[in-house]
Amino acid sequence: MNESVILLSIVSAVGIGTPILLAGLGEMYTEHSGVMNLGIEGMMLGGGVVGFWVSTQHTSLPLALAVGAAVGALFALVHAFLAVTLRVNQIVSGLALVITGTGFAAFIGSLNDSALTYERPLSSFEPVFGEGMRDLPLVGPLVFGHDWVVYLSWVLVAASAFWLFRTRWGLSLRAVGEDPAAADTVGISVTATRYIYTMVGGAGAGLGGTYLIAGIFSNYQHGITAGLGWIAFALVIFAGWRPWRALAAAYIFGVLRNLGFSLQIIGVDIPADFLNALPFVLTIAALILISARSSAARKYSAPSALAVPYSRESR
């Protein structure tokens, strides 16, 4: 009985962990290019609400996800223009983006007397594997029980780890984030790189937002992301800017979000608020540990030029 409750909470953690992971992976690309985008929560809501709307009009879920990702990328384009071209303070621009995205989603959601909140997606995300495989003990629900977006996120993690650390393009990207002047000298366009990967980050947030609203909740309510975008921001730091660690961290954060409920079933009463606060406490702890120890810091610390605008003239 206890084991099944724990298993259940891990399986549901994969569900809630996936939008965090998708948004976090996107932000990881953005930050590796030296741009910090605090606007994840806004891009998730803004992209997610449009993606959800598409899912209520059209049976194709891939289309809904693609539209959600595109809208997220458009929001990120605004941040890229402000942060890269105009070189404004990235914190200010990112927070303005949170307010804009949240407001945009609330506005779209409130039209026609909140018609969108009564809508349901026309189709739902079905499990990929047959019942036989899903009924296998342990590995069934853990490995074979998910819909295709979860497997897509695993593929994206593997692909990101390869792209970032094993390819030329990944090296160029990291060079721009670590030392833009040096990257510029060898002919890498700092501006183009930062624009592209800031938009990749927005696409990840839009994808995660759409999956959250159309897939997990199948329903839109105001402020439905409830801070998941901020958890995604914390995830990137907690994972030390590494994709595989992000996968693990997303599920740890996901477990914490559901654990309170599961523990209550088996009679352990830990307030959900404490568990909800834990991802943020853990991230602060990880951050302090990294900054206090110099050897670990070199490997898992932020890109050197993170949030620092680049201009050739002041090189």
């Binding site: 404004v88 303005a96 804009t100 606060a277």
Partner: protein, 371 residues
């Protein structure tokens, strides 16, 4: 940054101090531009932008009640704006005003409940607000200490602490029968009310003296940054931490003091909300928003303490207009979106203050000047 167009090129150059008309025109044009973008979105959603905007001016400014509503909303925003400003002056990025405000509200409500009817009038109110400011400062210290001694990035730690504070407040009201919670209201959890003698005195209608406290805080901060040794050292440390270190200014202690002053201002905002408006710890009214908006307000005010006041009032007037829009068939949520768009546009407009655009013959063409 050069952009070649045929035989000519567009040159973008930094400039030191723009002429006065540009300084005035840039934000005005930005606001106009933002309103146009907002109008397009409102129009695309099938609602009437002109009607929405006229109604917003009416509901935000015109008349006694709209004006009072706007000033009540502006009060905490002025303080969180100042909180962001003082840290930004030293290039310390405190984005934890939200959490510091919440902890200030928790402490003020707790202190208010503890005092009860015991200490009446001004003394009780001062104690209550001081508790809020102290709690905000201590909450900021949680990020300031690692920043000062391990160089832990304060952007992330202050941001993360917001959500820790939010969950603490939720726990006190929603998940436990705490000291702060009204134990008799079970189905609709809410905070226990503080004694009426601790309510901030009111000036007119809902308008309470918190506004004066906020404006006074702006004046004190302006004076402290301009005329005290502390203010001078904050400015020098912000411009060049190395120079400050060589001059023996004690940069670590300065980081600690600036972040704690910043946290105290945000905590005071929380205390004033409890004493002046909410009269209990109310998580529904203290959830995320004012702290983040304060950061943008500080930036839009170009880090000037007195500039924060009108900018906060302007932003508050938009917020205040929201509920009134419902009656004319425009979603009240439009105001948050509009605020975000205006923020983005004004921030972008600031660029025109620092740069000038000039068209000249392209490099390589006969008329080109040496660079």
């Amino acid at each position: 940054m050069n952009l070649a167009v045929g035989a000519r090129e567009i040159v973008v150059e930094r400039r030191p101090l723009p002429p006065l008309w540009v300084r005035a025109a840039a934000p005005t044009f930005s606001v106009f531009f933002g309103l146009v973008i907002g109008a397009v979105i409102i129009w695309a959603a099938g609602q009437d932008p002109v009607l929405a905007y006229t109604e917003m001016v009416k509901k935000g400014f015109l008349g006694r009640l709209p004006l009072i509503g706007t000033l009540v909303i502006a009060t905490p925003l002025i303080l969180t704006g100042l909180a962001a400003l003082v840290a930004f002056r030293m290039k310390i990025w405190n984005i934890g005003a939200e959490g510091q405000l919440i902890m200030g509200a928790v402490a003020s409500a707790g202190m208010g409940l503890w005092i009860g009817d015991g200490v009446g009038g001004p003394v009780g109110i001062v104690i209550m607000l001081a508790a809020g400011a102290a709690a905000g400062a201590l909450w900021a210290a949680l990020a300031a200490l690692p920043r000062a001694y391990f160089n832990t990035d304060e952007v992330i730690s202050t941001l993360m602490l917001n959500f820790v504070a939010l969950n603490i407040m939720n726990y006190l009201i929603f998940s436990s029968i705490s000291y702060w919670r009204d134990a008799e209201r079970v189905t609709f959890p809410s905070g226990r009310g503080i004694s009426e003698i601790l309510f901030l005195p009111r000036l007119s209608g809902r308008l309470h003296i918190g506004l004066f406290i906020a404006v006074a805080a702006a004046a004190v901060l302006w004076w402290a940054l301009r005329y005290t040794r502390w203010g001078f050292e904050v400015q020098v440390t912000g411009d060049s931490p190395r120079a400050a270190r060589y001059a023996g200014m004690g940069v670590d202690r300065k980081i600690l003091s600036v972040l704690m002053v910043s946290g105290a201002l945000a905590g005071l905002a929380g205390g004033i909300e409890v004493g002046g408006v909410l009269h209990s710890l109310d998580p529904r009214a203290l959830s995320l928003g004012v702290g983040f908006a304060g950061i943008v307000v500080a930036a839009l005010a170009r880090l000037s303490p007195f500039g924060v006041v009108p900018v906060a009032v302007f932003v508050a007037s938009i917020t205040n207009a929201g509920p009134g829009l419902q009656s004319i068939g425009v979603s009240s949520e439009v105001v948050l979106m509009l605020e975000g768009i205006l923020f983005l546009c004004i921030v972008a407009g600031e660029w025109f203050l620092r740069n000038t655009i000039r068209v000249q013959p392209a490099a390589g063409s006969p008329a080109a000047r040496p660079a």
